[in-house]
């Protein structure tokens, strides 16, 4: 077997997700992403099943593997108990580990996601935290969202939250010793390494494009340069 496939075979999600695909296309029929993007989970599954290293490398460099929403609707319906959604997760991991994610527009977005989500976890203990979820980045939050943001403390107090408070409760401050445990878990289990890898390739790409970090982040979060849709 080739080196990429060897690595995929060490990912438990790949082992769980790929049995014997019969190319029926049921996953594609049910897939929300396949309806929206130029995306076909049947072809992804067939490609990894073919064990063709060149084709797998093409996938890792492509936008294709970043179209899935990981809703796992495919898992329910596959008659052979494959899980294309899990295969996608293994492919994305390998794409980041090898730095190949930097070749695709959708792959490059991982830098913005890594900074936003992982820093929320490490700094606050939440994936989503109200003081970093901004109306200006989320206009769909609506006029009510703007009102919530402008009255965050008073409103959360009124509805019973314990925003940044001591003890248990809604949006309590996660104690520092617990955040330190999360940091040690990140350091030991590969999350910090993944953050560093994504940052290394991303800052290099930003330099290649002549952009600052902030300009690059805005670019990858907002720019659509190629046709992704059917």
């Amino acid at each position: 077997m080739g080196k990429l496939l060897d690595k995929l075979n060490k990912d438990y999600r790949f082992l769980e997700g790929l049995n014997a695909c019969i190319n029926c296309g049921t996953c594609t029929a049910i897939c929300p992403a396949a309806e929206f993007y130029k995306y076909d989970p049947r072809i992804i599954t067939d490609t990894v099943q073919s064990k063709n290293e060149e084709e797998i490398e093409k996938l890792l460099k492509s936008d294709t593997i970043w179209y899935c929403g990981e809703c796992m609707s495919c898992v329910t319906r596959c008659p052979r108990k494959n899980a294309p959604g899990l295969i996608i997760m293994a492919l994305r991991t390998l794409s980041m580990d090898t730095g190949l994610f930097i070749n695709s527009e959708k792959g490059r977005q991982q830098y913005a996601l890594s900074l936003a989500l992982n820093n929320n976890i490490l700094n606050y203990g939440y994936c989503v935290y109200p003081r970093t979820f901004k109306y200006k980045d989320h206009p769909e939050y609506g006029p009510v969202g703007k009102w919530i943001e402008n009255n965050l403390d008073a409103l959360h107090k009124k509805v019973g939250s314990n925003l940044d408070g001591q003890g248990p409760g809604i949006l309590r401050k996660i104690p520092d010793e617990d955040l330190q445990e999360l940091k040690r878990i990140f350091d030991m289990t590969g999350a910090t390494e993944r953050m560093d890898t994504i940052e290394k390739y991303s800052l290099s790409k930003a330099q290649e494009l002549g952009m600052t970090k902030e300009e690059y982040l805005n670019y990858i979060e907002t720019t659509i340069e190629i046709e992704h849709h059917k």
Binding site: C71, N118, V159, I185, T189
Partner: protein, 338 residues
């Protein structure tokens, strides 16, 4: 005949849900956008029904949104989850209940993976010990918070002040139920009613007087898609999926929507606002949107709580027309009082 057939299938997918003594963990998204729902959940089980639901301030995110946005490895999320299980073990509990569907799906997946790969579970135990000096037992029972409310639905009905009925016509309200994808699409046997015919929300609605709407895209994802919403350039994916669902449910004229997932009520609510702004289209009566609720919010309305105590002022789609239809008393002027 078709409805009867579905009811028969639903009845075959029941799961045992313990009555009492749970370790409760919160949801990141719900705490942000529907905070009062978690407040009400604990008030119902603790204060109204005198049940034992324990929470510790030391629990954190499970990391599920980051994991499904592929920003943290599987080993990381498993160790964070193992830490949550350790907190449960330290507190002396065996039943674990998650407020979040992403968490519930993740816990289910992790327990299943450890079952098939015990060497991985051993590695995670080692990771947890080295990083936190904690040890864990796996939960004997894993529930989603909506399972608990489903279990208690008739007790809630017995204390109800209102029914999900049109006060003028006496007819049941037409209710769309939306189940979070990770509740049972990955492991159908872990959800009440399985993946094709989930009964967890339907059971609540039937018990509280409403009538469920069956429509073609009932099982379609709301469109969160993790990275597909979190990154601005991808957000059309999320909107398009919600749009597909509303176009599909429109001919059935639903009065309201009930959900059991953290993100779904946010997207079904906010994307209606965006569709109105972009296309001028609305799906409810008289140019209004269709109000979207968490199951705790619906339980709270049925039990007679003040709508603003339930946090319904944090919704973009106005709930007042529905409150009027049911006959629920509320103060218009208090809505935005702080």
């Amino acid at each position: 005949m078709i409805i009867n057939g579905k009811k028969k299938i639903w009845s075959d997918y029941q799961k045992e849900i313990p009555d009492d003594h749970y370790f409760y963990v919160r949801s990141c998204i719900r705490q942000n956008f529907f905070p009062a729902s978690e407040k009400l959940f604990l008030e119902i089980v603790r204060d109204r029904l005198n049940l034992d639901f324990y929470e510790t301030e030391h629990h954190t995110t499970c990391g599920g949104i980051a994991y499904h946005s592929d920003t943290i490895p599987q080993e990381t999320v498993m160790t964070i989850v193992a830490r949550q299980f350790a907190l449960m073990s330290e507190a002396g509990y065996k039943n674990y209940v998650a407020s979040c569907i992403t968490s519930f799906g993740l816990y289910t997946e992790i327990l299943d993976t450890w079952y098939h790969y015990p060497e991985l579970e051993a590695k995670i135990k080692d990771n947890l010990w080295k990083t936190t000096r904690r040890e864990f037992n796996k939960p004997e029972y894993l529930a989603h918070a909506s399972d608990v409310i489903y279990k208690l639905r008739d007790k809630i009905a017995s204390q109800a002040k209102y029914k999900l009925v049109n006060k003028d016509t006496g007819k049941p309200l037409k209710v769309v139920e939306h189940i979070g994808c990770h509740y049972s699409k990955m492991f159908p046997s872990k959800g009440v009613g399985g993946a094709e015919y989930p009964y967890v929300l339907t059971g609540m609605i039937e018990s509280w007087g409403g009538e469920i709407v069956d429509y073609p895209e009932r099982r379609h994802c709301c469109g969160f898609g993790f990275r597909q919403y979190m990154v601005r350039a991808n957000r059309g994916y999320s909107l398009a999926n919600t749009y597909k669902k509303f176009e599909s449910m429109e001919p059935f004229h639903p009065d309201m929507i009930i959900t059991n997932c953290p993100g779904c009520p946010y997207f079904l609510d906010r994307w209606q606002y965006v569709i109105k702004e972009m296309e001028g289209k609305t799906y409810g009566k008289d140019g209004q949107g269709i109000p979207v609720f968490t199951y705790e919010e619906v339980a709270g309305l049925v039990l007679g709580y003040d709508p603003w105590y339930l946090g319904l002022q944090m919704h973009q789609i106005d709930v007042e027309p529905l409150l009027d239809t049911i006959g629920i008393k509320y103060s218009k002027t208090d809505k935005y009082l702080l």
